[in-house]
């Protein structure tokens, strides 16, 4: 599917792309084609800048973004997350006890494929698993408490290159492929797929906003969106995207969402964590 879109766009853009016969559709091949597409489409954008989404695509927006980044409103969420990390659960344990390195500087390893449960585990899911295994109620995936935790974890991992692994397990490869399929499938009344906006129209305007490239699109999560006047988690954004194409949003952290996060995060391997982010 990716190959079809890339070839179609490549023909339009006029760049020759070899059709790959063998090793077709392996994550490694997909990764290279995905990256080559964005490199050839946006030759002036430094590779690491893609993680800044629309700001890597438009000078006027970039300047406003830099003004906000001088003292960004997501600092309150990071501060809140830091306090939450420092506060033990009722049983005396802390969030740090559930993660490697006490949860500091590990965001780039998520999501990962859990061979025990056969599921993709995102950072948000891992945090709720931590809460539940310590006798606490899980947080709503779209609300501020979860955003504060992920904001703090993203902040302490800033700059670290994404490091998503697909283990040698057919179920992991299957989850990756399901995520890829979700990304390229059209849905909703507007009949758009994620790729329609974030691959084919990346860098173009949609009303006043500029569409972020799919490459590195989750690296800045969670985000403080001016439009929301507050923080948004990956779940909140994915569900809103579904609504925006006039489709029915799935429940937060639905298998499809986790799989597409897995796919997109793998595609961003090597690019730095830039979260939490400030967005329009």
């Amino acid at each position: 599917m990716l190959r079809k879109i890339i070839v179609a766009v490549a023909i339009v853009v006029g760049i020759a792309q070899p059709l790959l016969a063998d090793n077709a559709g392996s994550p490694e091949t997909d990764f290279k084609m995905f990256r080559d597409y964005f490199k050839s489409r946006f030759p002036k954008v430094p590779m690491n800048d893609f993680v800044n989404g629309p700001y890597s695509m438009d000078e006027g927006l970039r300047k406003q973004w830099k003004a906000i980044e001088e003292f960004p409103p997501y600092e309150f969420a990071v501060e809140q997350g830091k306090q939450m990390f420092a506060t033990p659960f009722k049983n005396g344990k802390t969030y740090g006890d559930c993660f490697a390195n006490k949860g500091i500087g590990v965001r780039q390893n998520y999501p990962y494929f859990d061979t025990k449960s056969g599921q993709v585990i995102t950072l948000d899911v891992a945090l709720n698993q931590c809460r539940e295994s310590n006798g606490e109620k899980p947080f709503d995936y779209s609300k501020d408490d979860m955003a504060s935790l992920t904001a703090y974890m993203a902040f302490t991992s800033r700059g670290k290159p994404m490091d998503i692994k697909i283990p040698n397990d057919p179920r992991a490869l299957d989850a990756y492929k399901k995520g890829e399929q979700y990304f390229y499938t059209r849905r909703g009344q507007l009949n758009f797929s994620c790729a329609s906006c974030h691959v084919q129209s990346a860098g173009d305007h949609i009303r006043t906003e500029v569409l972020a490239p799919a490459l590195g699109i989750l690296n800045a999560m969670p985000i403080y969106r001016s439009a929301w006047g507050g923080m948004g988690t990956t779940s909140r954004r994915l569900r809103t995207c579904n609504e925006q194409v006039r489709g029915v949003p799935l429940p937060a952290e639905d298998e499809n969402y986790r799989d597409v996060e897995y796919y997109l995060s793998y595609m961003a391997n090597g690019l730095p964590v830039s979260g939490p982010g400030a967005r329009p």
Partner: protein
Amino acid sequence: MASTIRVRAVAGGDTTQVQSLIQHPMDSGFVKDSKGQIIPPHYIEVVQFEHDGKTVFTAFWGPAVSKDPYLKFSFKGAKKGDDLKVSWADNKGASDSLVAKIQ
């Protein structure tokens, strides 16, 4: 509970640059909630910065100032290690203040 005020005050030469970010809804009174009811105006009216007993900057704000409002200005006469006091008061009579060290 953390303060609503975050301040970065950095002395360079004889000038201190101050940036502040305050956590406040700054509701304008023009926005409706999901039930269609107007969210009443709730915004900071005055922000004051004091150094060495003297006011070095006063901001008078209305509802058009953005949520989680930001401010940047510079003044002379302070040095690293001095105290800078920041305080605000809103239209509902609430307030907060913070004393920060100039870096």
